[in-house]
Amino acid sequence: MLPAIMLDNVSLSYHSMDGETKAVSELSFSVSEGEFVSVVGPSGCGKSTILSMLAGLLTPEKGSVTIEGNIGYMLQKDHLLEWRSIRKNALLGLEIQKKVTKEEEAYVDMLLKQYGLWEFRNHAPSQLSGGMRQRAALIRTLAVQPDILLLDEPFSALDYQTRLSVADEIGKIIRKERKTALLVTHDISEAISLSDRVIVLSARPATVKNIYEITLSTEEKSAMKAREAPEFREYFNKIWKELDVHV
């Protein structure tokens, strides 16, 4: 399959009066079309920086970034705008891209119905639970029909219970919509259970330490079921050691 995302020897530093912070150093990896790839790494290692470069918000100082298709980006917090209803929030991206048409609106309404937010379309974001808000944020991202989804720790603001089910649900939605996805997380279980491949990054500046192909013996890719697979623990232990978390 064609690579949808390709980073080739990418480096980037942040510059401030306090000095230079090397965030990413000679990083290379690619993600194929339709693939679900997770990136794990210690916090502050440059994960968000990588996504910002892929989204075109930052330009690498060295190396090149290639993207085949439209990007959708999901942030850590839902950032639903409080003065807009849920439906209006879902339409935000289309509005910005000046693509609000009857068909696009119908598509958004379809997503709202399909993912259980239709009844809440006229509610303010504050009236929704954390999981529902995150779903609304996903619909806002899907509304512009991206080919590639970049997800920056999208579940970490949720409490553990909600987090499991929302991760499961959003993982299913992404597979169902057949999107290419790059998920950044520091939760190893989340990465293993959701993805086809897990990329382990080193501490800052980020370089690829290892890449794991995930094959689990559960037929269906469900975040919940995946955790029951016998291979799960093996992957977990390997990645955990690799991350070398000093407590």
Partner: protein
């Protein structure tokens, strides 16, 4: 909605709690009115018993008579209308212009960095000190008064609104940029709507400031308005006029402030419904 309380099941204890609160609130309200009444009664008695000279201290009855006289000649409404009009134009223009300039400074960070120390100095300067200069430049007219009122509120508006603009979460701006939004869209989709409460708050501060500007302006140039009535009255020793105007001014300022507060409530409610 579902705040855990059902209207039917109010316990005896809860009822007596409500009752106590209501009784306390009534007491506060009545005491306030009685205090006001006492103040006027004491004032009137003091002048009638010649404890104080009503020629320089005026008296409630004297003020009442002055009010009746001014209402009958129809002139009181005109003075009131002039002051209200000038103040409204002053604080609306001040807020609008201040917000527009804040947008400009938000847009161009070079400009705002350059101008920062000047804004700080201008903000600290008592703007009424500029009134005589404005009058020399613009002339003995209403435009001068409104300009003074506008000056008192515009700088503080720029500073508070700009600060609000700069406090918008970086991640919300990122959200707009992710969708390919430009700077104008960041402004209209996030920065401005996020700062509606901040702008309404500026409006609230500006009512009071604009009154100060208008009264000082009227002291200096006006032929109409409560400020004029105050200076004119004090020059011809009609203290009834002066104190009546001051009281009307207090009532007016309070009413206008209240108006903005209820506007604020309505706006915030609509945003968060």
């Amino acid at each position: 909605m579902s705040n855990g309380k059902t209207p039917k099941a109010i316990s005896k204890e809860q009822q007596s709690y409500f009752k106590n609160i209501r009784a306390y609130r009534r007491k506060i309200k009545w005491t306030r009115w009685i205090l006001l009444l006492l103040f006027f009664v004491l004032w009137q008695t003091a002048t009638q018993l010649k404890w104080i000279d009503s020629f320089i201290f005026s008296s409630p009855i004297g003020m009442w008579q002055a009010a009746v006289e001014l209402v009958k000649s129809g002139i009181l409404w005109q003075h009131l209308a002039v002051t209200i009009g000038e103040t409204m134009v002053g604080f609306l223009l001040g807020t609008a212009l201040g917000t527009a300039l804040a947008v400009l400074l938000w847009w161009n960070s070079f400009l705002s960095d350059v101008l920062e120390p000047y804004l700080v100095v201008l903000n600290a300067l008592p703007k009424t000190a500029l009134a005589p200069i404005i009058i020399v430049w613009i002339g003995n007219n209403v435009t001068s008064i409104i300009t003074v009122a506008l000056l008192t509120s515009v700088v503080v508006t720029i500073m508070t609104v700009l600060e609000g603009f700069c406090r918008v979460e970086e991640e919300k701006i990122k959200l707009i940029r992710i969708f390919g939004g430009n700077k104008a869209q960041i402004l209209t989709k996030v920065v401005l709507p996020d700062n509606v409460p901040c702008i309404v708050n500026a409006l609230k501060i500006n009512v009071g400031l604009s009154f100060v500007g208008v009264i000082v302006g009227e002291f200096l140039v006006a032929k109409m308005g409560l400020g004029y009535l105050i200076t004119y009255g004090s020059q011809i020793f009609k203290m009834d006029w002066v104190l009546l105007s001051v009281i009307l001014l207090a009532v007016l300022a309070a009413l206008m402030y209240q108006m903005i507060v209820s506007l604020e409530k309505r706006i915030l409610k609509r945003r968060n419904q």
